[in-house]
Symmetry: C3
Subunit: 462 residues, 3 copies
C-alpha cells in the first residue's frame, strides 16, 4: 500500500535527488517538541486497549470526516469513557475508509498499518475484521507497549501539552521510574489566562490554592504563573503554548493591567475586555519568557466548537473547530514593540490562515530576531500544505527562520508516519530547488539535516 | 489547435496515467446541474442566428477582455436586442483573439471551433471571414439546431436558472413536446428576497399576484415562496440558488423576522437591515429545503456592477462584477446552528475568494453533514483554478464532500469544452497523486467516475 | 555557482521549450521603468567605494535577514554615512551567507558575483577576503564605473524615483553632459500628499517656495503639483508613483476637498481625515494623469517602520516594513467611477497581498480599460512569487493587461540578475503552457517578447 518513492515528484531527475536527500535523514531520531500524547501512557506502560480506542476515538481528523458524510457520532461512541463495541466502531470506520482518499490521514494510517502491523491488504469493509484482529493481537504483545513503541519510534524528545493546574505527577513518575526517555511537559495556560475558557474563574481560584499565591490580585496571579513555569521547567519543560482566537497582543501599564484583571475576575468584563486581557497576557508571557527562557508558541485563529448542537451534546474538541482569517501585523506590534528585539526571546508563530505565510509571517520572521515560523499546522500539515508553506515562506524568511516539524497529535501511533511525510516533503521541495539549480546539492543535504534536527533543537532549546 | 494530450502534465509517467484515467471518463454523459442557458431555445428549436450573436454577445468573459483593452462595448453591440452587423462584431473579436492567450476562454473556443465546426486554422483577423462563414453556414444545418446539439453533446441533465416570477412556460412546453431531454429549472429567488435587487418591492407585489398569496405579510410571503418551490419541483427542479453579496445568515425569531420584513417592504430599512433580511432569508430557504428536499446552492462574494458608468449605460451583467473578500465561518453559523446537522439537508457552497478553500470551506465541509463544496466558480473555473481547488480542499475535505463540476454558462456551445477541461484537470490531479504514490491507480479510476458522475447526481439529487 | 538551465522546470520536454524561449529574449535590452537607483551616480561617474557599501549597506533584503538571525545593525554599520570598516561588514555578511539559501537574494548575488566579477567559489566566511579584494579591485577599473555598467547591462531605460521637492539637477546634469543614456525621473509625491509623511506640513510650505504657488490654498497646491509634473515631464518622466498604506480613493467635491486640505494643513485633522485626504489625492493624481498623460503606479499595503525601537534608533527604511491585507474593490471604486473608463488613462496596480491576484486585481484589470497589473512586488519578486503571479492572473486578465517586469531596486549591480530571473520564470511558465498544449509554441515566442519589451514600453509610454 505504501511505496518506497511516495511523495517524491514524478520527474525522474528530481525524484532521484529527493531519494538521495531522504536517505540521509530517514533514520534520524524523531524530535517531537509539540503534541498531545499522554504522559500517563508511559507511567503504567499498559497495553493500548483495542484498535478503535487507539486509532478512531481520539482522532478528530477521522471522526470529523465520517460525521461529514452522515455517520452519527453516537455510532462511533465519541465521548464514551470506554468503548462498548470497539469492533463495531472499527467496522464503520473501515466501511468509510474510501472517504480518506487523497488526505494525509490516509497516508498516516496506511503507513501505520503496514509498517507497524504488517498489514498489506487495503482496509475496507471486507478486511475490517482482519485488521481489527491483527492489530488487537499485536497491541497486547510486549513490542507494542507504550515504552517499547517510544523506543521503536526512535523518539528523542516527546513533548506533551499541559495545564498549569496539572500536577505533572505523570511526568514526575516517568522520571522517578528511571526510564531514560525524554518526555517533557509544555506550559499551556489557556485555562487560567483566557476569560472565555470554560471555568476560567474557578480555575484561577484553584490556581491560587495550588500555588499558594493570592491569585485574586494581579501581582499574586503573575507570581502564580511565574512559579508554575518554574515548576514545569524543573521537569524539563522548554516551551509554552498559547491558543487564543486571535494573535492580538497589548502593552498596558501595570495599573491598567491590574484593573482589567480585577474586572475580568469579577465577571464584569465584556468580550472586548476579555480579548484585551488575552492580548495583555501574551505580552506578560513574553516578559516571563525573557526572564526564564521558555520558548513561546502562539497558535491563533481557530474558532472553537463551531457546531453548537454538537458542543452541547458532546462538549469540546469534537471536530468542529474551524479556522478564521487571522492577521498578525497590527496584532503583534504591541508585544514586538516591547520585546521584539530581545536577543534571548524566541516566539514560534503558527497559523491556520495560509494567506499570512507570504504576506505577514515570512516578512516578520525575516526581520525580528525573536520570531520563528512554526511548521504548517493542523489542517495544513499535509503534503500540499507543507509544500505551500515552503514555497510561500522560504524566499522571504529562508530556512533558518523556521523551526522544523511538529506532529501535534493525540494519535501516538501516527507519529512516525507524520514525521516521515514531513521529511519526504521537505526533501521533495529541496530536490526541486536542486533540479532547477536554485540550490547546490551539497547545501541541500545540509538543509535537510537542519530542518529535521538542528533547527528543531535550536528553536525549542532542546 | 487542440491536442490530444492537452492539460495533462508534461512528465511522461504522470501524463500516461492521466490519459488512462481520462479515457475511462471522456465519453460519460454530461450532467450540467447549474447554468444559464435558456429553455426557450429548446422549445422553438430555431437555428442560432450567427456566430457573433451566439458566441460573442452573451459571453461576458469575451467582451470584458476586449473592453479592458480599449474596445468600446458599442462596437460589440452589447445590449442590442439584435446585432446590426454581426460580421463586424466577429471581425473585431477575431482581431483581438490573441488577448485570450493563456485563458480558459481560448481553450473553450478552440475546442468548439475545431470539434464542432471543423476549423483547424487559428482564429485571427485574417481568418475572421472564414470562421464567420463556416460557422454561420453550419448553424443553419439540422445538426446544429438546439435539440440536436443537446443530444450531440450527450447531455443527460441541463439545469437553467429561473426567477420565482417566471412562469416556466418554456420548461412546460419542452415537457409537453414529448422530447425526452432533461432540462430542469433552478429556483433562484434573488429578485424577491434581496431588497437591493432592482425592483424588489414591485417584484414582491407581483409575486403575490402570481401566487395568490398576501405577500405583504410575512406569512403570506413565505407561503408564496413555498408554493413556488413546489411549482418548480413539479417541473423537475431539484435545487435552489442564492447569489447574495455575502454569505451572512441569521436566525431571527418569527416576530423579529416578520417586523424586519415589514420595514424592508415599507422601504424604511437601511443597508444593515437589508443585509440582515438577506441573511434571514438564507435560513428560511434552508428551513424550506429541510421540508421539501431542494438542494441549496450559495454563491456569495460578487460585487455586482462595479463600473457605475457602464451600469448606467448598459444595465446589469456587462462584465463589471468583481469578487470581494468573503468569509464563511461566522457568517454561516446562525444557519448551521439551526440546521447544520440535518441529515436531509444539502447545501453546496461556492466562493470567489480562493483563500477560503483551505481555511474555511474544506474544514467546514469536512465536518458538517449538510455541506458540500461546489466546484471552482466563475473566474476560477480554469485549469489553474481547478487545480488550486483540488490541491487546497482535498486534503481536508476529501473528494466525497465535493459536488462535481458546473459549467455555469450562458454559452451553450462551450458546454462540452468546459466539461472536457474539468475532466482533464481532475485526471491530471489524480494522475499526480498516483504518480507520487498518494493514491492507488485503481482507486483513481473510481474517483474519476465519482467526480464526473456519481457525486454530481448525489449532490443534486438527480 | 549559477547554471545555464537555472530556474527552468526539470521535466526535459518543458525545459527544452523554456530554453528555446529564453534564447530568443535573453539578449534584449533591459527596460527598468521603476526603481530606486540614484541619478547622481551617473553624473560624477565615480567608482563605487567598496563591496560592503555597494552590496550590503543599501540592501534591506540582506540586512533584514542578518538582523532576523541576531546580527546587530550596528555591526553592519547601517545608517552610517560612510562605512568605517567595510571589510568587517563584508565578513559578517559572508559568514551568514548560508541564511540566503532558497531566497532570490542568493540568486541575484551569485549571478552578480559570477557574471560581473568572475568569482566561481561559493561565498562563505572562508572566501570573504577573496571576494572583498576581487570586487574592490574591479570596482576601481574603468569597466565598473557607473556609466560603463549602465552600458554593459544593456540598459535601455532606467527610471529613478523622485520627490516633487527634488530639483532633479542630477537628471539635468546627465542630459547636459551629452551622455545618451535614458535615465528618467519618476514623480513620487508622497512627501507632499501624505499627511502622515514625516515633515508633511513643512514639505508643503517648501513646495510653495519651490513652485511659487500658494500651497496654503487648495487651488495653489494643485497648481504646484501640476507645474511640478510638467517639470518632471520635461526631463523625460512618464510615470508617477504612490505608496499609500491602503488603496483607498475618494471623489469629493471641490469644496469638500478644499476644506479637508485646510484642516489637514492646519494640523486639525485626525487619522480618518488623513486617510481621506490621501484617498482624494489619488483621484486628483488620476485627474492630472488624464490631462498630462503620466502613467500612475499605485503601491499600497506596506506597514512602514513596524519595529518602533529600530525606527527610533535608525529612522526609516531599515527593513521593518511589513505587508498588510489589502483590498481594492471598494477602495478603488470612487476613482474608477470617475475616471475608470478614460481611454487615455493608465493605472498600474501593485500589491503585497497575493490573495488579491485572482480575487480582485485580475478581474479588475480584465475589465477596466485604464488598469494594468504591475509585476510581483518586493517580497514577491522571486521565482515562486512570479510564478504565482502568472498562475493567478493570466487566466482572468491574460498577458496583455500586465506591464512587464520592474526590478524596483536600490542595488544597481543586481539589475541584470533580477531581469534575468524574471525572463527565465516567464519562459518557464510559458513552457509549461506549451508543454500542456495550452498555448502554441509560436505564440509563446511572441508573448515572451511582449512580456520582456513591448508591454513595458506600452504600459510606461516609453
Amino acid at each position: 500500500m505504501i511505496q518506497e518513492d511516495r511523495l517524491f515528484p514524478a520527474d525522474p531527475t528530481t525524484r532521484s535527488i529527493a531519494k538521495r536527500l531522504y536517505a540521509s535523514i530517514r533514520d534520524l531520531p524523531i524530535i517531537s517538541p509539540h503534541g498531545h500524547t499522554q504522559a500517563s501512557w508511559f507511567v503504567g506502560n499498559e497495553p493500548f486497549p483495542d484498535p478503535a480506542t487507539l486509532l478512531v476515538q481520539p482522532d478528530h481528523y477521522i471522526y470529523r470526516m465520517l460525521y461529514s458524510q452522515g455517520v452519527p457520532l453516537e455510532d462511533l461512541e465519541i465521548g464514551a469513557a470506554e468503548l462498548k463495541n470497539p469492533r463495531r466502531v472499527w467496522s464503520i470506520f473501515a466501511d468509510h475508509y474510501y472517504l480518506f482518499r487523497g488526505t494525509p490521514t490516509r497516508i498516516w494510517l496506511d503507513y501505520c498499518f503496514q509498517q507497524l502491523f504488517g498489514l498489506t491488504v487495503p482496509l475496507s469493509g471486507k478486511t475490517a475484521d482482519l485488521y481489527f484482529d491483527t492489530i488487537a493481537e499485536k497491541l497486547h504483545t510486549p513490542e507494542f507497549l507504550p515504552r517499547a513503541l517510544y523506543e521503536r519510534f526512535r523518539l528523542d524528545v516527546l513533548a506533551t501539552t499541559d495545564s498549569p493546574l496539572d500536577s505533572l505527577s505523570d511526568h514526575q513518575a516517568i522520571r522517578d521510574s528511571g526510564w531514560k526517555a525524554r518526555i517533557l511537559p509544555t506550559f499551556r495556560p489557556d485555562s487560567v489566562v483566557d476569560p472565555d475558557f470554560s471555568g476560567f474563574r474557578q480555575n484561577v481560584t484553584r490556581f491560587g490554592e495550588l500555588t499558594g499565591e493570592d491569585t485574586a490580585s494581579w501581582k499574586g496571579y503573575l507570581s502564580a504563573l511565574r512559579q508554575t513555569r518554574r515548576r514545569f521547567q524543573q521537569l524539563g519543560c522548554t516551551a509554552t503554548d498559547h491558543g487564543h482566537l486571535t494573535a492580538r497582543t497589548a502593552d498596558l501599564s501595570e495599573q491598567e493591567a491590574s484593573q482589567l484583571f480585577s474586572q475580568v475576575l469579577a465577571g464584569k468584563a465584556g468580550p472586548h475586555q476579555h480579548e484585551l486581557f488575552r492580548a495583555q497576557m501574551l505580552t506578560e508571557m513574553a516578559r516571563m519568557s525573557v526572564e526564564d527562557g521558555l520558548v513561546m508558541q502562539i497558535h491563533p485563529g481557530s474558532f472553537r466548537n463551531h457546531n453548537r448542537q454538537l458542543y452541547e451534546r458532546f462538549g469540546r474538541d469534537v471536530g468542529a473547530d474551524i479556522p478564521m482569517p487571522t492577521t498578525y501585523v497590527e496584532a503583534l506590534q504591541p508585544l514586538l514593540s516591547r520585546f521584539g528585539n530581545e536577543r534571548g526571546l524566541t516566539i514560534i508563530l503558527f497559523t491556520l490562515d495560509e494567506t499570512t505565510y507570504s504576506r505577514e509571517l515570512a516578512p516578520m520572521a525575516g526581520h525580528y530576531p525573536c520570531l520563528l515560523l512554526g511548521p504548517p499546522w493542523w489542517f495544513h500539515d499535509s503534503p500540499e500544505g507543507m509544500l505551500r508553506f515552503r514555497e510561500s515562506t522560504t524566499e522571504t524568511a529562508g530556512f533558518y527562520n523556521t523551526a522544523g516539524f511538529n506532529d501535534d497529535t493525540r494519535a501516538f501511533l501516527s507519529i512516525p508516519a507524520r514525521h516521515d511525510v514531513a521529511r519526504r516533503v521537505d526533501c521533495a521541495y529541496l530536490a526541486k530547488l536542486v533540479a532547477e539549480h536554485r540550490l547546490e546539492e551539497d547545501e541541500a543535504f545540509q538543509v535537510a539535516q537542519d530542518l529535521t534536527s538542528n533547527l528543531v533543537r535550536k528553536a525549542y532549546r532542546l
